[in-house]
């Protein structure tokens, strides 16, 4: 679960305040979709929660652990799927997976790797250097990575971009699965249709403030 209390981020020793006084929670087994216009601070919020930036005020907890003081525990529990694919161009899919998992102290078996590559439909390209992958394939590989890691908290930055129709279905299926297993999912997105399929709660971040709306309101909401 993610619990955020009075979180503020002034970037750069308070030079510029992106958002302030945010409070909300994402429970275990819940998928929360965060909407908002460009530049509202959605991505920045995810990056704070992923412990990339220090918040300038307030605190947040991931699985009951403080996001600043207990960084290491938090990092082991969460996974961020960001815009950058976090893949090494010269390694192939399998090597990339093994490396990413090794950083978390995990060692997947060949069978597990083959399974997730097949499920994400990139098994045929498993021996290809990631350099030759398209953006959509990289995203699929990221899903495969997440499948192996099974994070308790999953943060996703615009998960649907550059995925094809089948890829989006795959993504949603994966989100449903992991939510069923009891993970907390927080995603930022602009795709109302796709996110409405999986999200239980929806928030709109605009001008540094968060307002909650229901999933049904999503189609008619006019902020973005």
């Amino acid at each position: 679960m993610i619990a955020i209390r009075g979180l503020a981020l002034g970037k750069s020793h308070g030079h510029y305040r992106v958002f302030q006084d945010l409070s909300f929670e994402v429970a275990a087994g819940e998928c929360y979709a965060l909407f908002g216009p460009n530049g509202a601070g959605k991505t920045t919020l995810l990056r704070v929660l992923a412990t990339l930036y220090r918040p300038s005020n307030g605190r947040f907890e991931i699985m009951g652990h403080d996001g600043v003081a207990e960084k290491d525990v938090v990092r082991a529990a969460l996974l961020l799927l960001a815009h950058g694919s976090y893949l090494y161009d010269e390694l192939d899919a399998e090597e990339n997976l093994r490396f990413a998992l090794a950083l978390r102290g995990l060692a997947p078996t060949d069978r597990q790797i083959k399974l997730v590559l097949d499920r994400t439909a990139i098994g045929a390209f498993a021996d290809l250097k990631v350099r030759f992958y398209s953006a959509g394939m990289k995203k699929r590989l990221a899903i495969a990575k997440a499948m192996l890691i099974r994070p308790q908290v999953l943060l996703m930055d615009e998960p649907y971009t550059s995925l094809d129709e089948a890829g989006m279905r795959l993504m949603n299926q994966y989100i449903r699965d992991i939510v069923k297993e009891g993970a907390a999912v927080l995603m930022t997105t602009h795709d109302r249709l796709r996110s409405a399929e999986v999200a239980q709660r929806v928030g709109v971040l605009d001008k540094g403030r968060l307002s909650h709306i229901t999933v049904d309101e999503l189609a008619s909401h006019a902020v973005f």
Partner: protein, 225 residues
């Protein structure tokens, strides 16, 4: 031990990437070749002058090639935001540092081992019996350059003018390494007894230990907020 596994995997990742692309080592190698060429033109060398100057030339070439390799080390991590990944992965940062250090050290040593025979050929050096000692000197001094160098590579990767800043920050700090390496290499090449330049090896060892520990500790502040 997860700590050592992380070291191994980081180093392995760099090595495999390098073996497949050959980007770093080939650019280092050709740069060093050019340096040798320029030096042999700019000093008209007879046997006598060569004995005096060659150690300095070797280490100037090695230091600048090393800087090229070090600069590329963390620039490569910028692709696909991999550096961010290293930051937020739960892996101990010190292990990541040691992995990168091992890879950098290996690249530099490989280039040096390829280059050294060229010095021997171009400048008519006589090295057969001192070879193991020379390798030890190379290893110690290269470790000294790459400990701080790896740290500064991570530091300069996020800043403007990073290609300039790496040598500007690294070389003043590496003054002791350069002095010790040049003196020890000169001693070994001229066939002096080890007791005359043994203390330089000690100095190199002290530098290596101090800065490996310091950089290991400081790396966390560089890569993580």
């Amino acid at each position: 031990m997860p700590f050592f596994r992380v070291i191994r995997w980081v180093a392995w990742k760099d090595l495999v990437s390098e073996i497949r692309s050959r980007e770093t080592i080939s650019s280092m190698f050709f740069f060093a070749l050019i340096v040798i060429l320029v030096f042999s033109f700019s000093f008209s060398m007879d046997q006598e002058a060569a004995r005096e100057l060659i150690a300095g030339i070797i280490w100037v070439a090695f230091a600048f090639t090393g800087i090229i390799g070090l600069g590329k080390s963390f620039a490569a991590e910028l692709q696909n935001d991999c550096l961010e990944h290293l930051q937020i992965s739960p892996a101990p940062k010190g292990a990541v540092y040691l992995g990168k250090l091992a890879a950098n050290l290996l690249f530099m040593l490989v280039v040096e081992v390829i280059l050294f025979p060229m010095f021997v050929i171009f400048f008519n050096l006589d090295v057969v019996e001192e070879l193991p000692l020379l390798l030890l000197i190379f290893a110690l001094a290269t470790l000294g350059l790459s400990t701080v160098g790896t740290l500064f590579s991570a530091m300069t990767v996020h800043i403007r003018a990073r290609e300039v800043m790496l040598p500007i920050l690294l070389l003043p700090l590496a003054v002791p390494v350069m002095i010790a390496a040049v003196e020890a290499t000169r001693g070994a090449l001229n066939g002096l007894p080890l007791s005359l330049y043994g203390n330089w090896l000690q100095l190199l060892a002290v530098f290596d230990v101090v800065f490996t520990v310091l950089s290991f500790w400081a790396f966390e502040w560089i890569i993580d907020s």
